[in-house]
């Protein structure tokens, strides 16, 4: 029972880390950033670069944040900004940008798998069960990330402006909030978080030009059922991620792999606002 419980918690944590950047962008801009997968891949390669340069593997994570942030800012300035009123076109455009990121990575590196040194190896004992140390660290990081983002939204003036834009952008602009700046900062932050997630999952994932795509699907489903709330996302990660672990355990991984998508569809059918409580 203990291993299943630990699997459940850590899987939810990984899903939360992978989805939070996407949720932030969706919450503020009401657009799904399909370049999220490409940005995750970029972060994975930041870890590869850190390893190749012989740096401490933890350095790969801030490096990923910088890469993702810069690329995200560039994308927002050049492409996404002009598509704010065309959310469907924005999906297409960000998907296109994701392909471009993947192809540039293929050109610089190659199509093959690359090696990134994991920050930590081994297991520690939890209630008598040996369990992967790194997965437990990811759980702690997910908690920190959730609390940190919540604190930033609640406790800073930028957070206040951001929440105002989330609630009613026209009104916020009328009150003198520079909503363009808020969008720009959010997209940069969301992109940085995507890349950080990419770097964080390298010890569990293959680093290749497509690594982000598989994660994008789960992240997309989670954001759809969470709306724009970080807390709903946490609930959704635990419920859907937990369901995936349980189904994989008792009905096989082939069914487990479909759980998140199927459950998300069912939830949205019954309750269109999903886990969002507003």
């Amino acid at each position: 029972m203990v291993p299943v419980l630990l699997d459940l918690i850590t899987t939810a944590a990984i899903l939360y880390i992978v989805s939070s950047g996407l949720l932030l962008v969706f919450g503020v801009m009401k657009l799904i950033n399909f370049a999220h997968g490409g940005l995750m891949t970029l972060g994975g390669y930041a870890a590869v670069i850190a390893t190749a340069m012989g740096l401490n593997p933890w350095i790969g994570i801030p490096l990923a944040a910088i890469f993702g942030g810069i690329v995200g800012l560039g994308m927002e300035r050049v492409v996404v900004r002009s598509l704010y009123n065309r959310p469907l076109d924005a999906i297409l455009a960000t998907w296109g940008l994701s392909i471009i990121i993947g192809q540039i990575i293929t050109l610089v590196f190659d199509r093959g798998v690359h090696f990134a040194e994991p920050p930590i190896r081994g297991v520690i004992s939890v209630l008598g069960e040996p369990y992967s140390t790194y997965r437990l660290i990811l759980t702690a990081l997910a908690l920190l990330l959730g609390l940190g983002l919540t604190a930033a939204l609640r406790g800073t003036s930028l957070g206040l402006s951001t929440r105002a834009v989330i609630m009613n952008e026209d009104l916020a602009r009328g009150l003198g909030i520079n909503s363009g700046l808020v969008r720009s900062i959010t997209f940069t932050l969301g992109s940085g978080l995507a890349a950080v997630a990419g770097a964080l999952i390298t010890p569990l994932s293959s680093v290749d030009p497509n690594m982000g795509v598989a994660w994008l699907i789960s992240a997309f489903m989670l954001v759809l059922v969470s709306g724009s709330s970080l807390f709903s996302l946490a609930v959704a990660s635990v419920v859907l991620g937990g369901a995936q672990v349980v189904v994989s355990n008792y009905f096989g991984s082939v069914l487990g792999g479909m759980t998140i998508a199927v459950l998300a569809a069912v939830i949205l059918r019954i309750r269109p606002q999903g886990f969002s409580y507003e």
């Binding site: 081994g122 040996p130 082939v254």
Partner: protein
């Protein structure tokens, strides 16, 4: 009048010369190479093309075939059935190739075979596969499960005293087929299966399967995951869970093992080709490959070397038959032997080849070391009706 006669005769002479040279130059023997330049196989395709080019230039440097040059026509099959149909159609009916030599997925081969049947040309398939693919025009010079399964299972049972096994695969025909055979073989030999689990091909999460492995604590784990990413994600997640049971992989290759770093240490691999094979033929092959491609050399592997062998086998068959005529070449393909980097290969057993199988292990530096070789392993009954 005389002047114009002169002109005409000069013109005629030139035309004759041009036409004469055209006969020698214009009639090369054309090999069609459908391969996945895009899609899943695109990682391995460059090495396959290099192996083909090396074999072709070796043959042309020694005078070509039947005094004709050998040339290659490559077509992208997009690593799947739909792409393969287009590739085969264009190779067989537009480019009118003399033979097709293909390292492809099973789906692509199955889509291509009906076109081979219609086009009636010799066909050599060079990827290891699930077995029992039979066609009048087809030969296969790579391994089938019968050759691989006993190698791995016997080693774990005899040398490590393994009794309990856990099988892990990607959910596709080859993964399930190979593990199904393994399952049967383990039962025959008196071993116990404690788990058999599959994950979708594009899955990245192995959490539940790793937990089951930990819970059942097997003596040995055998995997047949899809090449590339699934091998890597599974191995990383298994190792991060601290599981150190014997781990044998049917699908991991030398190059990918290297990119796994310390996580790959101790993994057992089975196959017919590793760069570390200590034979003169392999040394020659590696030297020639590096001489031809220099820094751009792709590491030769389980999929590229059978392709190299197949081009040479085709050349030997054409020489033996004295013609590129299909029936004669297909007959000769079952009779010729090529002594290549993998050892002697002869596709004499119901269109399949008895092969030298190697068992290898990855060391702490990520290098693959051969720990055993088994000559002339029989492919068993594959096409009894051919």
């Amino acid at each position: 009048m005389k002047e114009s006669m002169k002109k005409i005769s000069v013109l005629l002479a030139i035309t004759a010369l041009w036409a004469g040279s055209a006969v020698a130059e214009d009639h090369p023997i054309v090999l069609g190479i459908p391969v996945g330049l895009s899609g899943a196989n695109s990682v391995v395709a460059p090495s396959v093309i290099q192996a083909t080019e090396l074999a072709v230039s070796e043959i042309n440097d020694t005078g070509g075939l039947l005094n004709r040059k050998l040339v290659v026509e490559v077509a992208d099959d997009a690593s799947g059935a739909a792409g393969a149909q287009k590739a085969y159609d264009s190779l067989v009916f537009q480019k009118k190739v003399d033979a097709i030599i293909a390292m492809e997925t099973t789906a692509a081969r199955n889509a291509g075979l009906p076109i081979i049947t219609r086009g009636q040309i010799p066909y050599i398939y060079t990827s290891f596969y699930e077995g029992s693919s039979c066609n009048k025009y087809q030969h296969i010079d790579a391994w089938v499960p019968q050759q691989m399964v006993s190698l791995m299972v016997d080693y774990f049972m005899k040398d490590h005293g393994a009794k309990t096994f856990f099988l892990v695969g990607s959910d596709y025909a080859f993964g399930r087929g190979l593990l199904g055979d393994t399952n049967k073989y383990i039962a025959e030999k008196g071993g116990t299966l404690v788990g058999e689990e599959y994950n979708p091909m594009d899955a990245t999460d192995w959490t539940a399967i790793v937990s089951k492995i930990r819970a059942t604590n097997p003596d040995a784990i055998i995997t047949s995951t899809a090449a590339g990413a699934p091998n890597v994600t599974f191995t990383k997640q298994l190792r991060s869970a601290g599981i150190t049971a014997n781990y044998g992989s049917y699908a991991l290759d030398e190059g990918t093992a290297k990119t796994l770093g310390p996580d790959a240490e101790g993994i057992y691999l089975g196959g017919t080709y590793y760069t570390g094979i200590e034979s003169e033929k392999n040394a020659q092959f590696l030297k020639a490959l590096h001489a031809k491609f220099g820094e751009k050399t792709e590491t030769p592997n389980e999929l590229s070397v059978p392709q190299y062998d197949a081009v040479h086998l085709y050349a030997l068959a054409v020489k033996k038959a004295g013609t590129t005529d299909t029936d004669a070449v297909v007959k000769a393909l079952s009779e010729v032997t090529f002594d290549g980097p993998r050892g002697p290969v002869k596709m004499s057993k119901q269109r399949h080849a008895p092969l030298t199988m190697y068992l290898a292990q990855v060391n702490a530096q990520g290098d693959t070391k051969i720990i055993g070789s088994y000559a002339n392993v029989d492919p068993g009954e594959q096409c009894p009706n051919l």
